[in-house]
């Protein structure tokens, strides 16, 4: 059964310097509060994993927490670029950032393999693109039945996965719904997991489209109301589209970003 902890304690216990960390979320339910707590606690040398690194990853990168990014699409959705990400890649500011770059299909299947206890997954992908020339974790295998050539990608098994969900019960059973992305696979693929939730309730009532992660498959649950803001939590609050637009200006300028970072680190959640 998952333990119920505070966000600060959960990050302190489960996320270590040098870890491979996936903070998953596909536009919806992004674990922003958890990511910002990682910044506050000053983690370093992280390998950050996520299909769609967006502004909380821009913040982690700009704060110097990461040395490597494993991803498939890095942008500010609907707005444009991630300026801290770009600055790290093109100018190594504040520290160099190594990239391991896949497609969504490849990343999704890497999580599926990880959740399935398999060392790799196969897909129809990458053929003819330049991705295999820059990414070592793309290979090709031959079907033993048809002789077809298929792409192969290795399992992702992060040291820790952090996700945000709508709610959990007191035994740590987690429930999320709406767009559920790859969160279940990311948790099941990881050695440890932390789930931040909008609320802890006595009983989980079934919801259409709901995904339930049993408490025995989760390490810890931390209450973090509005923990996905400026992303959204279906049924709780809407996406703060203005914040995404404002981030463009803050992140474009190193000084503006550094000011923002100082405010964050100085604040308690």
């Amino acid at each position: 059964m998952a333990r119920i902890v505070s966000l600060a304690d959960g990050i302190a216990e489960l996320v270590h310097d040098g870890d491979e960390v996936a903070l998953e979320g596909f536009t919806h339910l992004i674990p922003v509060a958890a990511g910002q707590e990682i910044i506050r606690q000053g983690r370093r040398d992280l390998t950050l994993v996520r299909m769609t690194p967006d502004i909380v990853y821009d913040q982690l990168i700009g704060a110097g927490c990461a040395r490597k990014l494993v991803f498939s699409w890095g942008g500010n959705p609907g707005v444009g670029s991630l300026h801290r990400f770009r600055d790290a890649v093109t100018h190594a500011w504040p520290v160099p950032l190594e990239l391991v770059e896949h497609s969504h299909a490849g990343m999704a299947n890497r999580y599926v393999a990880g959740a399935s206890g398999l060392p790799f997954a196969i897909l129809r992908g990458y053929a003819g693109t330049d991705l295999p020339t820059v990414t070592e974790t793309i290979k090709f295998v031959t079907c033993p039945f048809t002789g077809e050539r298929l792409a192969a990608v290795p399992a992702l098994n992060p040291d820790v996965t952090v996700i945000h969900a709508q709610r959990a019960d007191r035994a740590g059973n987690v429930q999320l719904w709406g767009i559920t992305g790859m969160q279940k696979e990311a948790v099941l693929a990881a050695k440890r997991s932390l789930v931040t939730v909008e609320e802890v309730v006595d009983e989980l009532t079934p919801v259409p489209g709901g995904v339930v992660l049993p408490g025995w498959a989760v390490t810890a649950v931390a209450p973090a109301p509005r923990g996905a803001h400026p992303s959204y939590a279906h049924g709780f609050y809407e996406r703060d589209n203005d914040y995404y637009k404002q981030w463009d200006a803050i992140s474009k300028d190193r000084d503006a970003f550094t000011g923002w970072l100082g405010d964050l680190v100085g604040s308690a959640r």
Partner: protein, 248 residues
């Protein structure tokens, strides 16, 4: 003639290319605008599929991102992201993949990864996302992109998603089962691959655009179809629908 911007012409021309009842894998931005416009107009049964897991989304306003709540609320089914790619895209069930591009070459190959050298890029772009497999597996691919010499290049700096490779037979050799790009819609005109050479060829120019303008906006020696068409100007209902969609 209606009073409209080049971007409006582009979105309307792209919307027209979608047929009612088709299934369409929609990228965010220009493709999403065009697909939603088609569904509001001549193609009410167009099935919109977003990589966030929304099958048959029916948004009443333009989503800002591919994971907006309005997509999940209105979808026939919301599924996990692995399922979108594995069960729905990969087997070739989807009629049209609708993509954009930062760079596009004369064979319809797409770059959304880097401008310049990969290890020391001039501009770092967002990366692949769903595009490589959309370009590989949809029955056909439509590309919507503003036509400039920086975007329309002889050779892309990085092949993120394969169009027609280096010409005839390349897709089959690579095991790509969809037909690849069959249509490129820009703010200046419409290009299609030549049936023999697969090189993108101008087949239609938009109202008020000259051939010279299109040539000047293209980074290679642009071929022009023998029977160059003139795109029909946006109708008043088309324009009204587009503007209502963007204002919502």
């Amino acid at each position: 003639m209606t009073d409209h911007t080049p971007d409006e012409m582009m979105s309307i021309a792209a919307a027209r290319a979608l047929r009612d009842g088709q299934t369409c894998f929609v990228g965010i931005g220009l493709p999403s605008t065009a697909a939603n416009l088609a569904r509001r107009g001549h193609a009410p049964d167009l099935v919109l599929i977003y990589e966030s897991g929304c099958l048959g989304a029916k948004p009443d306003r333009l989503p800002l991102s591919i994971g907006d709540g309005v997509l999940a609320e209105t979808a026939d089914a919301v599924i996990g992201v692995a399922e979108v790619f594995n069960y729905w895209l990969q087997p070739g069930r989807i009629d049209v993949g609708f993509l954009s591009a930062a760079q596009l070459d004369r064979f319809g190959n797409i770059n959304t990864t880097v401008i310049g050298d990969y290890t020391d890029p001039k501009v770092r772009l967002p990366g692949a996302g769903g595009a490589p497999e959309i370009a590989a597996s949809c029955r056909e691919v439509f590309i919507i992109v503003r036509q400039t010499p920086r975007a329309f290049v002889e050779k892309v700096d990085f092949v993120t998603s394969v169009g027609h490779g280096s010409g005839p037979g390349d897709r089959a050799r690579l095991g790509l089962r969809g037909a690849g790009p069959t249509l490129v819609i820009t703010d200046l005109g419409i290009l299609r691959p030549d049936p023999e050479t697969f090189e993108l060829t101008l087949t239609s120019v938009h109202p008020g655009v000259t051939l010279e303008q299109v040539r000047a906006a293209t980074g290679w020696d642009l071929k022009v179809a023998p029977e160059l068409e003139h795109t029909a100007a946006p109708t008043e209902p088309e324009l009204a629908a587009l503007r209502a969609l963007k204002a919502a």
